[in-house]
Amino acid sequence: MPKRILLIDDESDIREVASASLEIVGDFEVLTADSASAGLVVASREQPDLILLDLMMPEIDGCEALEDLKRNAATRHIPVIFLTAKALKMDEASVRRAGAVGALLKPFDPMLLPGQIRALMGWPMESHDEASA
């Protein structure tokens, strides 16, 4: 059964490219939400295996969203990986302190993204996964 990933990002083009990458290259099942508040609802209802969370979003940003996820008993066990622009790159200690598994940089390479996620999560690589950059 494929792993299910919830992608929370306010940018429609990023959601579409990441979804294509995760579905076609990664063989993941992808759920999407265009805001943190919508993502919190989907996460609670769908119980994905992982949440990819954009750091810079209007209204509720990624850090606040992660706090909300960790406060909620229905979602606190779901691992989170931040998607963050290079200019806002977080160091590993800050990522861990925030409660995330790791952070991946935007822009990402759609060919490499699934392999980078598997590496961070300790999930087995698929035979077609590209080596991470």
């Binding site: 990023i14 579409e16 490219v17 622009a85 822009p107 996964d129 590209e130």
Partner: protein, 109 residues
């Protein structure tokens, strides 16, 4: 990766680009307005903030579509606006370069 899988990905990315073009054009318009205002010494806080957000989103978006140089160019524009755009001439040149890179990509497509 198997060629069929790669072809499917490329097809989906081409479709995504068609849908993203309107967004890219809107963000470029925000930059053009802000750079024009900066050149005439009349850049207010709101257009500057909008330009920072537009350049930030362009940098991420263009990068995932493989437009690496355009992404870097957008990132540099974001940094210029963040730094207060004291050098409006450089900003205008950066914007021209970004416009050219996007035209090249469209022409090649």
């Amino acid at each position: 990766m198997k060629p069929a899988r790669e072809e499917r990905l490329q097809a989906r990315l081409r479709q995504a680009w068609v849908e993203a073009r309107t967004l890219v054009a809107e963000r470029m318009t925000v930059l053009e307005v802000a750079v024009s205002a900066a050149n005439s010494g009349a850049l207010g806080q709101e257009p500057r903030s909008s330009a920072i957000a537009a350049a930030h989103k362009l940098a991420g978006s263009l990068g995932v579509f493989g437009l690496r140089e355009a992404s870097i160019c957008a990132r540099n524009i974001e940094e210029q606006f963040n730094a207060g755009c004291s050098d409006a001439g450089t900003l205008a040149l950066m914007l021209q370069r970004l416009q050219q890179l996007l035209r090249n990509y469209e022409d090649a497509g």
